[in-house]
């Protein structure tokens, strides 16, 4: 069901960083907003897994009129060692903007905040997966400089494939793209 689209934003939005004290106020709204576009729900542990460990990488966009939740981004940042050389990898796990407020740059602002926060913490790269059919999400990330690194066949339970998107923040150790061929 497509909610009516707001032609205008309700004034200057408030962007705040999540913290544990806000769980009671915002976790139900976060879950509701994110589950809307999911075929399979996440258990509450999935949210807590991220929010508890990386509250500092979760940002919310709030309606200035009543502080209700309009958009949210949830991330993690960890050492990733499954391939060499190991990297300090940021991961955008969830992103959603309430459908009535889409197309006003809210998600873009949230993603930028998350990138900045991860860059400040010395992330080497930021990755995420998105459904191949999710053009708005792909356009948004690619506009910010993300590249598709691979396609993942039937990645989601609904049978859709995904793209892995990557934004490299630092040159990876040992890689010298400017070495001159000998």
């Amino acid at each position: 069901m497509e909610a009516a689209r707001a032609t205008q934003l309700p004034g200057e939005l408030r962007y705040i960083q999540y913290e544990h004290a806000l769980e009671e106020t915002y976790l139900p709204a976060i879950r509701a907003l994110i589950s809307k576009d999911l075929s399979e729900p996440y258990s509450i542990y999935v949210y807590r897994y991220f929010l508890y460990q990386w509250a500092h990488l979760c940002y919310m966009a709030l309606n200035p009129a009543d502080n209700s939740l309009i958009g949210v981004i949830i991330c993690k940042l960890e050492h990733h060692a499954s391939h060499s050389p190991p990297t300090y990898r940021g991961y955008i796990a969830m992103l959603a903007v309430s459908s009535a407020y889409r197309g006003h740059g809210i998600a873009t602002a949230l993603v930028k905040m998350a990138i900045d926060a991860m860059a400040e913490r010395n992330a080497d790269e930021i990755v995420l997966e998105t459904e191949e059919t999710n053009l708005p999400a792909m356009r948004l990330y690619e506009r910010l400089g993300f590249l598709r690194s691979k396609k993942l066949h039937r990645y989601y339970l609904n049978g859709n494939s995904a793209y892995r998107l990557v934004l490299l923040l630092k040159s990876s150790a040992g890689s010298d793209v400017n070495r001159q061929p000998t």
Partner: protein, 778 residues
């Protein structure tokens, strides 16, 4: 206010020798009070995976026990209820749709195992064919609706087929869940019941059906077709294990099924569906913690389309057994797997099993035969290096003995990686690309390793470096050279699959086509090198032959003039040299087409970038050097060909010193060159194009490339015209007054008045050649 606090129950009375009980209730209760809701006490072993697998009790999407108001836990459909003949037909067609959904990658739990009839056949697990009935109670059995035996026989045939497919898939390389779900949730799919007795039952059902008088002729015929389909299906799988048989005989059941399916589609409408005979509730009885998930419903048309393709692919796949040489085999596999839509996992694993099973290739050949055949076709025609006679030399000091030993080391080293190339192509397209990215690392190492064998053998065989008018070329290094050829082809495939899978954004196309051009050019140069060494081998072989059998034994009267030395090579040797010569020619022609076309598209996209039709996104996070690093990551560690430095790549792609008209002139020439090349390729007979057994598919692909090249030519000239017009317009409009030469007009200021569309994969002429469509704007 009522106090809801219930006094705590007394602690259980645990008394057991050796167990000291400590009551921690109070400690736990007070510890818990220090946590607020949602605060986690998390140890390092609680991973994202665990949190994703956690269930929330009472959430209907996670808790399999949750029932909505008035809902019953279990299914109550009665399998002994009365069924009309048309309802049996309807259920069978519904089962066909579910079976296809399983082939497409959905789990049995959401497909066939949602059938109440299937469940009653399988649970409890039948150990004999008689037990495999809807009810096990003989009295009720007696009273079963008349045609239920048709449904029973159909279901047994279907389940056994699923068992056989599942086994086939599990034996080969595939990706669980991504490609296919082999999980049977503890249902055994009749593995205890021999195929023969099920086929017997199906045949009996067919004759009983014919004997049953009270059924309309149309419905009876429709049911019979479906029983026949089940028999043919089992037969097709059964025959495919006879890899040595005549491929055309393996085809028979597939051809039969294709015909049956046409008829089945026509009388599908006679059936009456029975939706109640399928229920998601049955999932609660399966070995799974998942709450019931919806039934995957394909429409009958979709189902029919997929089956038709499945049977067609089944007919074609058996042709792989008609072996002629390894390069045609590779063409067969790669073009078969490039079909759109890609053949189903069942067929892809069937192909793998035909290709290689129990150390036998295509049912009849050893790995050595194939490898040596490949070497003779590419780098070692008629070479003493692969002479089977070497094996018979037992004197260790004899160089031929040593050659045989070194070649065996070579085969051991490469066999797995070589067969992997074929296996990789049998994966889904995304996996093909990803796995090739790993495979080239392996081939890079392999090349270095086998070069050491080359070094040993060149001493052993007393090889001299090659000198030509171009100077010293060095040693042949045939094994390393062979590995390099395969590595280069894989690298090209990686880039080409990137286009096919839409991995590259429009502003990357110029760069990626430049890189493809670089790889193809390297392959062509490498082909040229192989050609020179093969020519030398031919000369040497002729000289040797000549030496052994002087052309004119009593030559005193012809002044010692030799007649053509060629006469002294055996016909088989001549053929072997000629074949490798045509292989090198074919690969060089193919590489030339790729490099020309890629060059042309690179220039076209660069020009489109100049006039602002392909814009790089500008973002503060964008860093072209780092983007290059991600894009070329699979190639970063490859020793040869080395990844170009970013500056060189950027300069070659952007071509800052070349004007737009020059770029377009260049693009026009390159694209026209590619076009001519494809025209020549399309006319090449199958033996010389190395697509024996796959000619139709191969030439179809070449013609698609040709069409793409023609379309690219049109795009180039459209842009040329629009650019000139825009330039004229700008000169007239913005021409300086009286100052002679006006200010130079930047390309980015021009309005070429064109709309550009980049066709998504499947919408252009060929997925590897992304040709923009340019249309003039008013």
């Amino acid at each position: 206010m009522q106090n809801f606090d219930v006094p705590a129950p007394p602690p259980p009375n645990v008394s057991h020798p050796g167990v000291v009980v400590t009551d921690i209730t109070d400690k736990f209760a007070s510890a818990v009070k220090t946590l607020s809701p949602g605060e986690l006490v998390k140890d390092d072993h609680f991973t994202l995976f665990e949190s994703v697998s956690a269930l929330e009790i009472m959430d209907p999407k996670m808790d399999s026990g949750v029932l909505s108001e008035g809902e019953s836990l279990d299914e109550e459909y009665d399998v002994s209820r009365l069924l009309l003949p048309e309802e049996i037909l309807g259920i069978i067609d519904q089962l066909l749709c579910l079976e296809m959904a399983w082939h497409l990658g959905y789990p049995l739990s959401q497909t066939l195992l949602t059938s109440v009839y299937v469940e009653s056949l399988m649970n409890p697990r039948p150990t004999s064919i008689d037990e495999a009935n809807f009810t096990r109670d003989p009295e009720i059995c007696e009273k079963q609706p008349v045609l239920l035996f048709v449904l029973r026989a159909y279901c047994l045939g279907m389940l056994k087929s699923c068992y056989l497919v599942n086994q086939l898939v599990k034996d080969e390389l595939y990706y669980e869940e991504e490609d296919f779900v082999t999980n049977t949730y503890d249902r055994t799919l009749l593995n205890d019941i021999p195929e023969a007795s099920i086929i017997g039952l199906l045949q009996k059902a067919r004759s009983d059906l014919r004997a049953a008088g009270n059924v309309s002729k149309d419905i009876s015929a429709a049911l019979d077709l479906r029983l026949e389909l089940r028999i043919a299906f089992m037969r097709a799988i059964d025959l495919s294990t006879l890899r040595q048989a005549n491929p055309d005989s393996l085809k028979m059941p597939w051809i039969q099924m294709r015909g049956l399916m046409e008829h089945i589609e026509k009388n599908h409408a006679l059936g009456k569906s029975v939706p109640e005979a399928f229920s998601t509730k049955l999932q609660r009885r399966l070995a799974s913690t998942m709450p019931p998930r919806p039934i995957v419903q394909l429409s009958f048309e979709e189902c029919y389309g997929h089956f038709r393709r499945l049977f067609q692919d089944g007919i074609e796949v058996t042709d792989v057994l008609k072996y002629s040489e390894p390069q045609s085999l590779l063409t067969f596999v790669s073009t078969f797997q490039a079909k759109k839509p890609q053949p189903l996992v069942f067929i892809r694993t069937l192909l793998q099993s035909l290709l290689f099973k129990e150390m036998v290739v295509l049912g009849s050949y050893s790995i050595r035969q194939i490898l040596d055949h490949d070497l003779s076709l590419t780098v070692l025609p008629c070479s003493p290096q692969i002479d089977p006679a070497n094996d018979n030399i037992e004197v260790p000091s004899d160089p031929r003995h040593q050659t045989a030993a070194q070649m065996e080391i070579f085969r051991q080293r490469v066999a797995e990686s070589y067969l992997d190339i074929f296996r990789i192509f049998c994966q889904n397209r995304c996996r093909v690309r990803r796995t090739l990215c790993h495979s080239i690392q392996e081939w890079d190492m392999l090349q270095a390793d086998v070069e050491e064998i080359d070094n040993l053998l060149q001493i052993n065989l007393d090889e001299k470096p090659l000198h030509t008018e171009r100077g010293e070329i060095g040693y042949a290094l045939p094994l390393s050279s062979w590995a390099y050829l395969y590595k280069l082809r894989q690298m090209e495939w990686i880039v080409q699959l990137g286009f096919e899978l839409e991995v590259y954004q429009p502003d990357e196309l110029a760069g990626m086509y430049w890189y493809l051009n670089y790889l193809a050019k390297t392959r062509a140069q490498h082909g040229d090198r192989i050609k020179m060494f093969n020519a030398r081998s031919l000369d040497m072989a002729r000289n040797r032959a000549n030496h052994r059998h002087p052309a004119t034994p009593n030559s005193s009267n012809n002044g010692g003039k030799k007649t053509a030395a060629t006469a002294t090579l055996s016909a088989a040797q001549e053929r072997e040299f000629a074949q490798s010569k045509s292989y090198i020619r074919a690969t060089m022609l193919d590489a030339a087409c790729t490099w020309e076309f890629a060059d042309g598209l690179c220039c076209l996209y660069t020009a489109l970038g100049r006039v602002g039709l392909v814009g790089p996104s500008s973002s503060s996070y964008r860093n072209d050097l780092l983007r290059y690093e991600i894009r070329t990551k699979p190639f970063a560690a490859i020793g040869l060909p080395q990844r170009p430095a970013f500056d060189a790549f950027a300069r070659a792609t952007d071509q800052p010193d070349t004007s737009v008209p020059e770029l377009l002139r260049y693009a026009a020439g390159a694209v026209a060159g590619a076009r001519k090349g494809y025209e020549a390729l399309a006319k090449t007979p199958d033996a010389q194009a190395f697509c024996v057994g796959a000619h139709e598919r191969w030439v179809g692909g070449v013609r698609d490339c040709l069409r793409a090249a023609i379309a690219a030519g049109v795009a180039v000239s459209t842009l040329q015209g629009a650019y000139e017009k825009a330039l004229d317009g700008a000169a007239v409009g913005g021409g300086g007054e009286g100052e002679g030469e006006g200010r130079k007009i930047e390309d980015s200021e021009l309005d070429v008045k064109l709309k550009m569309e980049i066709p998504p994969p499947g919408k252009g002429y060929h997925d590897w050649w992304v040709v923009p469509k340019l249309t003039p704007l008013p």
